[in-house]
């Protein structure tokens, strides 16, 4: 994969998110080194905290430089991830996701 292909994957400018915001994870399947697990792509969760800006692993995996990405903790309800979930109604999964994978709902 070329550096330019990776660069164009960078979304333009993102407004910051705040705890409480509902977000949908992009339902994309780009090649390369991706730290957004398939099981949350396309799913809706709620931002629970902001960790500040970190290097983008999708670029760092190829030793490329690029803009840092804000990193957020996003909480998903188990029943929103798995239709047949049979545990407690509030059971949840928290994931740490980078801004360019999140769309505000």
């Amino acid at each position: 994969m070329s550096a330019s292909a990776l660069q164009t994957r960078e979304a333009p400018v993102h407004v910051p998110l705040n705890p409480g915001d509902l977000v949908r994870v992009r339902d994309d399947y780009p090649p390369g080194h991706i730290r957004t697990p398939v099981y949350v792509r396309g799913k809706v969760g709620r931002v629970t905290r902001s960790f500040g800006a970190f290097g983008n692993p999708e670029l760092l995996a190829y030793r490329l430089n690029g803009p840092q990405q804000e990193l957020y903790e996003v909480r998903f309800l188990q029943r929103d991830l798995w239709s047949d979930y049979s545990g407690g109604p509030n059971d949840s999964v928290d994931l740490d996701l980078y801004r360019h994978w999140l769309e505000k709902v």
């Binding site: 730290r35 697990p37 099981y39 960790f51 990193l71 545990g87 059971d91 999964v93 740490d96």
Partner: protein, 218 residues
């Protein structure tokens, strides 16, 4: 004998195209990758990329970090409410204060309560607070744990002997990015009179990953 397990594990690699070394007198079969690992080390040392001393020092440094470090942190958080607040708000600072600096990753501590039970995984690889707890156990890196804990956490916790009421929220932390997680387990009832050292001795690695609770009697 610890390497019995490894030999068993390495059986999985036998379908690979590479030929294996002939069985040795002690019946220890070395996989192609074990031999490749030794080849890598020898060549990197010969080329001056690493020195044998550096590798040895890195191994010794790893060996010195054990779950006992995390246990001291947890015990302190049980006896010192101000320390607990510091641990929950700036965990890197709090663990460094006890002599366990985490320099390469950001640490976040999450507390178990009557309402929430936290458990940690890395579904994508093996992210773990190595600088505080040492290397992760084999099961933490296993495909079965990584696959199942995010979709059937209660069944998985049950396999570790941890059965939680339905009204407790099970909260799984999938450490997918730059944050490493430490679970602060609940201090077991009946241990209020114990010293910090006695409490630390009760805290297990599994309780700091969140698959187990701390028992009052080790």
């Amino acid at each position: 004998m610890p390497h019995d397990h490894h030999d068993h594990e390495h059986d999985h690699a036998h379908g690979h195209a590479h030929a294996h070394a002939p069985p040795q007198p002690d019946h220890k079969v070395h996989s192609y990758y074990q031999i490749l690992g030794v080849a890598l080390k020898e060549l990197l040392v010969e080329k001056g990329v690493v020195t044998a001393d550096e590798v040895r020092a890195a191994i010794e440094k790893r060996d010195q970090i054990t779950p006992a470090h995390g246990a001291k942190v947890v015990a302190r958080s049980w006896v010192d409410p101000l320390y607990r607040i510091k641990l929950l708000t700036n965990a890197n600072l709090a663990v460094a204060e006890l002599g366990f600096p985490m320099t390469t990753t950001k640490l976040v501590a999450v507390e178990n309560s009557e309402e929430v039970h936290n458990v940690v995984v890395c579904t994508l690889c093996s992210c773990y607070p190595r600088e505080l707890l040492g290397l992760p156990p084999a099961w933490y890196k296993s495909r079965a744990y990584r696959a199942r804990i995010v979709s059937e956490p209660r069944a998985v916790l049950g396999e570790f002997g941890t059965n939680l009421p339905d009204n407790v929220e099970v909260r799984v932390h999938d450490s997918t990015a730059d944050i490493r997680y430490l679970v602060i387990p609940i201090q077991p009832p009946g241990t209020e009179g114990k010293s910090e050292e006695e409490l630390a001795a009760l805290v297990t690695r599994d309780s700091m990953i969140g698959v187990a609770e701390v028992k009052a009697h080790g």
